[in-house]
């Protein structure tokens, strides 16, 4: 379904990602893990053609469902973004206009993708929130982003991203800003998306616990390159790569190392 073939991404002179290859099947959950600056976010932004600040794919191919994503005219992107591939960000609150209600933004989003009246779009948005099991969807539609908690904002972001049941969901650190309890909730929600809708998820995270719970496969990135890739168990349980091992050992766990 998604194929990245020897992709390199650069911001001007600075090489962010080198020689990155990934193959994803429908319904698969793959995690990119690594430290800050390892190039994981560049990879998923590159897929959606949303590299910021002069970033560009300098080499390789990105193919999604037979379409070469590097060679798509801007007007066709609209049919793909949101409908076939959508994205959730670290803070969904930050991507929403603070001066406008959730419902207004949601309705506008739906109306760019299909012909709906404002009222129909509002209703569809409300239904979508209800389908994602958000409590009192009407209230949420009438709220401003700052009136919702971080976890709730993130669930609204997921509901928006899932409006057209995309085949692929790109998730950029979706739980990093949240408390453990809320994080667990969002993680549960993402697992359900795959189960109920067969959505494939490409997850960027520095939280190895989240990656370990959700993923079928894990790619460990370091300084723009894939350090190690493999299925979940081989990375978590039998990796021989020193860098992967050191990352895994740094994760604080409930029954783990005590320093005092």
């Amino acid at each position: 379904m998604l194929e990245l073939d020897h992709v390199s991404i650069a911001y001007g002179e600075t090489q962010a990602v080198e020689n990155f290859s990934l193959h994803m099947e429908p319904g698969e959950i793959v995690s990119l893990v690594g430290e800050s600056g390892s190039g994981k976010t560049s990879v998923i932004r590159g897929i959606l053609g949303l590299l910021p600040g002069g970033g560009a794919v300098t080499q390789g191919e990105i193919v999604f469902d037979g379409k070469d994503l590097l060679d798509i005219p801007p007007e066709q992107w609209r049919a793909i973004r949101g409908r076939e591939i959508s994205m959730i960000f670290q803070g969904s609150g930050a991507m929403m206009n603070p001066t406008r209600k959730i419902g207004t933004v949601f309705a506008e989003y739906l109306r760019t993708h299909e012909k709906l009246t404002k009222k129909e779009a509002w209703e569809k948005g409300t239904q979508m929130l209800a389908r994602m099991r958000l409590p009192s969807p009407e209230n949420i539609m009438r709220s401003y982003p700052f009136q919702l908690s971080g976890g709730m904002q993130q669930r609204v972001g997921i509901a928006m991203a899932m409006s057209y049941e995309p085949k692929l969901l790109l998730a950029d650190e979706p739980t990093s800003a949240l408390d453990v309890t809320t994080q667990a909730q969002i993680v549960g929600e993402m697992a359900r998306l795959r189960r109920d809708y067969g959505t494939a998820i490409l997850l960027v995270t520095h939280n190895l616990g989240v990656a370990a719970y959700l993923s079928d496969r894990i790619l460990v990135m370091r300084q723009g390159r894939i350090e190690e890739a493999g299925d979940r168990d081989s990375i978590l349980k039998s990796s021989t790569n020193a860098y992967t091992r050191s990352l895994l050992e740094s994760v604080p766990t409930m029954g783990g190392v005590r320093y005092v």
């Binding site: 709730m152 408390d179 994080q183 909730q185 697992a191 719970y213 409930m254």
Partner: protein, 321 residues
């Protein structure tokens, strides 16, 4: 084993902030905790539970409405002026974001030496040598003295923040989410540094963190806060096996470890904490608690001590005895 020496003690600390519509936000309610010499007290809870508010009282950055903060028997909430300034030497703090807590125009040398100059402990001529030894203490190369905050990584900045906090050789160090912004591998290094410094200097540490797994790995004693109240206090060592409060258990269950079974659905407690503007009567946790019964709606549970080190504020535990 000698009797633990309590060097700082909070007694029945309360704090409310006025909200725009005339209501009051109860940030801290009857918080009583102790810091024991040379040990770490971990403070854990969700965002908005009042843990940072409380730690700000310990460094006298803010004042509680009622209650006392005793440092070596002296109530620091009553101190003013020069006596307060002198007390600050003994209690220092490291913040979450060292990028925001440094003056971007100051070099590392000036940042770490400023507290010493403030208290007249060194002369400007001694700065170079003092700075070098402070950087050495936090395992940074000496030439970092000429750097500005923006030319260092997050982990390096946090080391500088620790050097600044320890420059005055305080007895107590408060760390407010000091590792939350760092990568796990860097976090591990910083934690190892803090633990090493604690051993060498007998530091007493207040460690605020929302990651309960990290807290249990560094804290001798852990206090769990919920909506401004301490709901459970217990030794970090026994956190997983002995935690009794349903909220502590929920926090532990929400941690995704590397060995969490991916086929098992994540156990989540219901939704989110109620607004601190609108804390339910009775037990504050009852809305989200699976084991709540009639008494929970009626009465606020008091802290009940199961042993000298383990206290729980929950009716379930009191009923069982």
């Amino acid at each position: 084993m000698s009797e633990p020496e309590v060097i700082m003690e909070a007694l029945h600390v309360c704090k409310s902030y006025p909200a725009s519509d005339g209501r009051w936000l109860r940030a801290n309610e009857d918080v009583s905790l102790q810091l024991v010499k040379g040990k770490t007290l971990g403070l854990v809870g969700e965002s908005g539970c009042g843990k940072s508010t409380f730690m700000r009282f310990l460094v006298a950055l803010d004042q509680p409405d009622s209650g006392k903060i005793l440092y070596r028997g002296q109530d620091i909430t009553a101190l003013r002026g020069e006596t307060l300034r002198q007390t600050r030497r003994h209690i220092q703090m490291v913040f979450q974001d060292p990028g925001a807590s440094f003056n971007p125009k100051m070099k590392v040398r000036d940042i770490v030496c400023e507290p010493l100059l403030n208290f007249g402990l060194i002369t400007p001529k001694e700065k170079a040598a003092v700075c070098r030894s402070l950087l050495e203490m936090v395992e940074l190369p000496g030439d970092f003295a000429d750097r500005y905050p923006h030319s260092m990584s997050g982990g390096q900045r946090q080391r500088v923040a620790i050097a600044r906090a320890l420059a005055l050789q305080p007895e107590i160090l408060i760390l407010d989410e000091a590792t939350a912004a760092l990568d796990v591998s860097v976090q591990k290094n910083i934690i190892e540094l803090i633990v090493k410094l604690q051993r060498e200097r007998g530091l007493t540490i207040g460690f605020i963190c929302h990651d309960i797994a990290l807290v249990q790995s560094v804290a001798h004693q852990v206090a769990v806060m919920y909506l401004g109240r301490v709901v459970e206090v217990l030794p970090g060592e026994n956190l997983r096996s002995e935690a009794r409060h349903p909220y502590t258990r929920a926090l532990i269950d929400a941690v995704l470890d590397l060995d969490t079974d991916p086929r098992k659905p994540v156990t989540v407690i219901d939704s989110e904490p109620p607004s601190p503007l609108d804390i339910p009567a009775g037990c504050p946790f009852r809305d989200r608690c699976g084991q709540c019964f009639e008494k929970c709606a009626r009465e606020k549970p008091e802290m009940r001590w199961l042993s000298k080190e383990h206290g729980v504020a929950c009716h379930l535990v009191s009923e069982e005895g």
